[in-house]
Amino acid sequence: MLLNYLPVLLMSGFAAFMAGMILYVSSILSPHHPYREKLTAWECGMEPVGDADTGHFRVHFFIIAILFILFDVETLFLLPWAVVIADKSISLLAYIEMFIFIGVLAVGLVYAWAKGALDWI
């Protein structure tokens, strides 16, 4: 059983190793002549003003991230349900339950929509 997951480790290791090897070869072959102008951030040729990683970004990205967590957890609840839905002995009950569950989530989505969380401008 655990043997099924060993290739995950192998493939990650292989990809990381190959990536590292190619970078090493590239570092041998490529020139290295840094100077101040080359090492500044690219701003269309102007002198860069201020720092970018000060944490000042639009709060809307944060709201999208929270909504993502809500809906992604919901999909996790749906997955086991989706596997057994065709099983005749429980399917009707499971369907009614999931109808209510999705209804609750739809109310949440409508609320976020009405509050303007999905407006981008």
Binding site: S12, S27, S30, A41, D53, F57, A65, T75, L78, S91
Partner: protein, 365 residues
């Protein structure tokens, strides 16, 4: 306990991982050439034509050029994270392929040993793929953040927001497929679609085509391809999250994008178009027994092998159609605006897939 059977199994596993990984590393070589040729012909020009016949050696020339380019790390960047980020994007896109089935089991001639044409048949492969492909977002947002450049930061943020928004729609589409096939294992999902093209999930009317449309739109957005390539919007962001990258690290982002494109094509084939199943049943079956009947001889084993390998060509052909349509759409459609993109994701695809889940559920009970 290490016995000989286990060692043999491990060796086969190593070989498979090596083969799949190497093919994935080499895949952008034909794909970049093809993409530029397709671009050229769609725009009524020739595309690359100088390096080799019809420019087939152009990707090799590009590769050598990338290798010889200086690896610039900006002064103000978070140097450690900046160097690490492209590899963090690259590795998950490769790791996804551990769970992808390319074909069924094949019997090697004269040994009686069966080798599966997939690296691992996980019972939670669907969850695994959703989880691992989501990890690629880290590399992109870290790359944008570590560059300490305004364009890169904006590109990284946009990309992260876009990818997580469409991840929800994609998960819903995958749930639709799981409802139709009743399994989380990709091998089982393919097997449930055997027996002619009418059994493919795409033709489970009327919900199948709708799931496919939701899946493929979300797939385009997940791979940051046109019409959803906001993070690389050269009109407003320079290049997006990889604006500060050069040389091989830049190439890794491109490599990850190509592999992600192949992943979405492969998943579309597995989920909706029957994987390695042929679209119609052949009137005869290529098996060892027929060969034994024909010439009673030793090549029954090879005929068995042939019968097992033919599905691989079906699989590759279907995937090739999707890869071509990715390129076709890239040079046909304009780019959406960012607010339009978020509106499609949250206000169209998610309500649509919620309704579709209820309809599919109603059809399955």
């Amino acid at each position: 306990m290490l016995d000989s059977a286990l060692i043999l199994e491990l060796a086969i596993m190593f070989i498979k991982v090596f083969v799949v990984g190497s093919v994935l590393f080499a895949l952008p070589i034909p794909l970049t050439w093809l993409e530029r040729k397709v671009a050229g012909h769609i725009q009524v020009r020739l595309g690359p034509f100088r390096v080799g016949p019809h420019g087939v050696l152009q990707p090799l020339a590009d590769m050598i050029k990338m290798l010889l380019k200086e690896d610039i790390v900006p002064e103000k960047a978070d140097k450690w994270l900046f160097r690490l980020a492209p590899i963090m994007t690259l590795v998950p896109t490769f790791t996804v392929f551990v769970a992808i089935p390319f074909g069924d089991k094949v019997r090697i001639p004269f040994t009686g040993r069966e080798v599966a044409l997939y690296i691992s048949d996980m019972n939670v492969a669907v969850l695994y793929i959703l989880a691992i492909s989501g990890l690629g977002i880290y590399g992109i947002i870290f790359g944008g953040w570590a560059s300490n450049s305004k364009y890169a930061l904006l590109g990284g943020l946009r990309s992260a927001a876009q990818m997580i928004s469409y991840e929800v729609a994609m998960s819903f589409a995958v749930i639709g497929v799981v409802m139709l096939s009743n399994s989380l294992s990709l091998v089982e999902i393919v097997k449930s679609q055997s027996g002619g093209f009418l059994h493919w999930n795409f033709f489970y009317l009327p919900v199948g085509p709708l799931w496919f449309i939701i899946f493929i739109i979300a797939g385009f957005a997940e791979t940051n391809r046109i019409p959803f390539d906001m993070p690389e919007d050269e009109g407003s962001l320079g290049a997006g999250y990889h604006v500060e990258y050069s040389g091989m690290r830049f190439a890794y982002y491109m490599l990850a994008e190509y592999v992600a494109m192949v992943t979405v094509s492969v998943l579309a084939v597995i989920f909706f178009f029957g994987g390695w199943n042929p679209p119609f049943n052949l009137p005869f079956h290529l098996t060892g027994e027929t060969a034994m009947f024909v010439n009673g001889g030793w090549n029954a084993e090879f005929l068995n092998l042939l019968a097992a390998v033919i599905p691989l060509f079906w699989f590759a052909g279907k995937v090739a159609v999707f890869i071509y349509s990715f390129m076709w759409i890239r040079f046909t459609l304009p780019r959406y605006r960012y607010d339009q993109l978020m509106r499609i994701g949250w206000r169209v695809l998610i309500p649509l897939s919620m309704v579709n889940i209820l309809v599919t559920g109603f059809m399955r009970i």
